[in-house]
Symmetry: C2
Subunit: 306 residues, 2 copies
């Protein structure tokens, strides 16, 4: 029986590239595997796939009766809707431990590093499997994306060493230049519908019974949002109502200035103040130094809802 290797809903580059990289590794060690995805590749991910000559993995939403290897999350809200009817054979991740459970033993490769692809590189090393040049390229880009070219506080020495090793394999001489090229693609938000922008990198979290959705857009200059910010705010308000969410947040992250503008709609008007000690004005706040949803935005929120 072949397993599916799949990342989270609203897939980012780590989910898509990680699924491809891990499926290849599993096949090499005699465990048949097929990469799949739970949504459309973002422009950034498409840039990476094109650059290294990959097709996007199969779009597959239902996994009942299948064996599944989960990439880049361990949260029910981010997993396939029918994951309870599938057999989870493994998880590779770098986030907090979520609420996925299994009824059979599995393997979990979870490490507090900046990117799942850094963990997948450790798996290649463990099994002593050579990484093909093109797969090294997409893994490298996924790590540069998740670590914001090493600027994110989630970035660890392991991520940096991993990128250096993958760049060598992929024959990428200036990986920082490649990273900036990638973030410029990511910054092109013009002509995209507000909902598509909000959902481009959006995750729902179950916080002590409250559904909290958090989107993030990372750009090289926040001025790209000047004309569309009101539309984005209207859209997150709509998203909150549609999903019966307690809160929807959108982080507009400036990777050069190294901070994020927070747009927020919430049942609790004091939420930003409580979590980050920064009050919002008209649903907006500047969070200096905040680049990482996982490390800087989610944990204080968990604390408020605990």
């Amino acid at each position: 029986m072949s397993m599916y290797v799949v990342g989270h809903k609203i897939p980012d580059s780590d989910s898509i590239c990680g699924a491809i990289a891990l499926a290849y590794l599993k096949n090499q060690i005699g465990e048949p595997a097929k990469a799949s995805r739970l949504g459309e590749p973002s422009p950034e991910t498409q840039f990476i796939l094109d650059r290294f000559g990959f097709e996007a993995p199969e779009l597959k939403m239902s996994y009942a009766g299948e064996e599944v290897y989960i990439v880049d999350h361990s949260e029910l809200t981010q997993a396939p809707d029918d994951i309870a009817e599938a057999t989870i054979v493994g998880i590779v991740d770098h986030h907090k431990l979520g609420d996925l459970t299994t009824s059979t033993p599995l393997e979990c490769w979870i490490r507090p590093v900046g990117c799942s692809n850094t963990v997948i590189k450790m798996m290649y090393d463990f099994y002593n499997v050579d990484i093909p040049k093109d797969i090294a390229g997409i893994m490298l880009c996924a790590i540069l994306s998740d670590t914001v070219i090493f600027k994110s506080p989630t970035c660890t020495t392991a991520d940096i060493r991993c990128v250096e090793a993958l760049a060598e394999i992929a024959g990428v001489e200036d990986f920082k230049a490649l990273g900036m090229e990638m973030f410029k693609v990511k910054s092109a938000v013009g002509g995209t519908a507000p909902r598509d922008l909000v959902m481009r990198d959006f995750k729902d979290f179950n916080m002590n019974g409250n559904l909290v959705g958090i989107g993030q857009l990372e750009v090289v200059d926040l001025s790209v949002f000047d004309n569309i910010k009101a539309d984005l705010e209207a859209d997150i308000a709509a998203l909150k109502a549609e999903g019966n969410r307690h809160t929807v947040m959108l982080l507009l992250t400036d990777i050069m200035k190294e901070g994020s503008e927070l747009l927020i709609v919430s049942d609790d008007a004091e939420l930003s103040k409580k979590a980050y000690d920064i009050a919002t004005e008209n649903g907006r706040a500047w969070l200096p130094g905040v680049l990482s949803r996982k490390k800087q935005v989610v944990p204080p929120l968990q604390g408020v809802f605990a």
Copy 2:
């Protein structure tokens, strides 16, 4: 800050020996750690500690405000009562993924093998740390215990290779003889109160909102239970009532005949029939070939409660 390394409640040899072995490893790689335990060592575990010259780790029930590395489980019911007030920095385990969650990223070394100590050996190999002779001895015994000297269906090639390597390091020439000596210690049930026997290796599981407690006693000959079986049955009935449990099961496992006598009290008189296709008579049933709670007893139950 020093972390505590702790196994599950009602600790078995894997929990105690794993905590000692992992704490040593963590200290060697510059992460201060201290082994602890959530209960008294069983006679089997005491035999292992005595044989290789170890004291039992510190008994410590409360971990609020501490950093904790969890060994041999990922279930809230098996963790310290105040684990929600601690920071879980890692989990090493070989069971199904339970309902522990965290609010920060962590490391998880979880593999579908026969024993957590087999995974800990992989961690030593990953960090390239030599295993001291005495620690190799207790790790070896934990694996022989969990795999029932390789007879359990949970036993994998990785466990066998691991025992062989550890026996070499520990200077144990005949590890199977050591295993039998250990199981004979485990089989000495005379003179022990029924509650102490039932609780010797007892785990509570949350099955879709129903609390199910499952104890197991592994012996070399079931006749040791002839005179105390009625007392054991009375005790599991009491345990069910006291804990407001849906079901309490006690597996009397004959490691030579390779099967288990099931004693059961349950709100569902048909539970054994539904889960194992074997009806009980007066709350008893013989389950041929059943040696493993984790692999043969729990998953079918999960299916019934799903």
